[in-house]
């Protein structure tokens, strides 16, 4: 199960990189980055998975005394929660900059934006 999630994550990263490198439209690149971001999150969560264990929430099914032997690693989940939120922020920033670029050049084609090229 974890291996499927991890493989999906890696494939999503590759798809995202391919999309970001092969497209010239800035909006498509932003979407590709969001896909790659999802892949990274999926890989991180999959690394924390342990066979036969359950979510790190203590209740009737997972008594406090048995917690250490019943739950999966909570640290990657906390990390990914952070990463998802920051990912949203980064995507919003990229969209805002794309809008400004469109305003200045009238085009979303990355090959038209050559100001920083040398």
């Amino acid at each position: 199960m974890a291996i499927i999630a991890m493989a999906t994550g890696f494939i999503l990263i590759l798809i995202g990189l391919f999309g970001a490198l092969s497209n010239r439209n800035i909006l498509r690149m932003i979407v590709a980055f969001a896909v790659a971001n999802t892949g990274v999150n999926l890989v991180l969560v999959a690394v924390g998975y342990m066979r036969g264990r359950t979510a790190p929430i203590l209740d009737d099914a997972v008594p406090v005394a048995e917690a250490a032997s019943r739950i999966i690693d909570p640290v990657p989940q906390a990390l990914v929660l952070t990463a998802i939120v920051i990912g949203v922020g980064v995507t919003a920033l990229m969209l805002a900059y794309a809008y400004r670029l469109y305003q200045t050049k009238g085009s979303l084609d990355i090959s038209k934006h050559t100001d920083l090229k040398w």
């Binding site: 391919f18 342990m50 203590l58 909570p74």
Partner: protein, 235 residues
Amino acid sequence: MIKRLALILLLAGIGAIFAGLMLAHVPDGELNRTALYYAEHTAQDLGAANIVTAIIVTFRGLDTLGEVTVLFLTAAIVGLVLAKGKRKKREARRQPHLPPSGELLGTGTRLLLPLILLFGAYVFTHGHLTPGGGFQGGAIIASAILMALLSNPLQKFSHRLISLIESTSGIAFVTIGILGVLLAGGFLDNRILPLGTFGDLFSAGAIPVIYTFVGLKVGAEFSSMLVSLSETEEL
């Protein structure tokens, strides 16, 4: 053509690295020492049922403060970057005429909006008990705003109200953190309030309070980003 070939070669290389990583990965049989500490100490020290929440809000609360700051900066920069274009447009603003969004959409939005807001509040107040929390609840609240914007693009949301909610909850978050230094073990310590009965809504000390403020702050930040982005629309 050569570019495409180089790209595929590059991706094949990265893919080979990923495959090596994946095949060499052996899932842990036991929790590592950090995770073991969190698993054993969360319930007795902090009284929170959701260990992920305990890590985010208390054990690593300072990181969460940093994360919320990053989000605040993002929202501020989005507003700043988009506002310049808006000022120019305001001079040439004409009254846009959109076809009405329709009875079904309008009524559906009015019906669902309070329910979604309520659900968001439920998610962030139960963050210490269920798989939820301030960030998820905030995102749900922002999704309500997004729905309102989608059904009626001309709807105006008060930037002043959004930033008031955001700054108030940010100040409250930091104040609770400092109270932790004064009354309990350290910055953002949740034991300034009684821990209560394990598994109750009013338990886990200050965690639900902190997560409520985080939820309000994240919801306000996401909403302000959405409103800024939607106001750029050329109508």
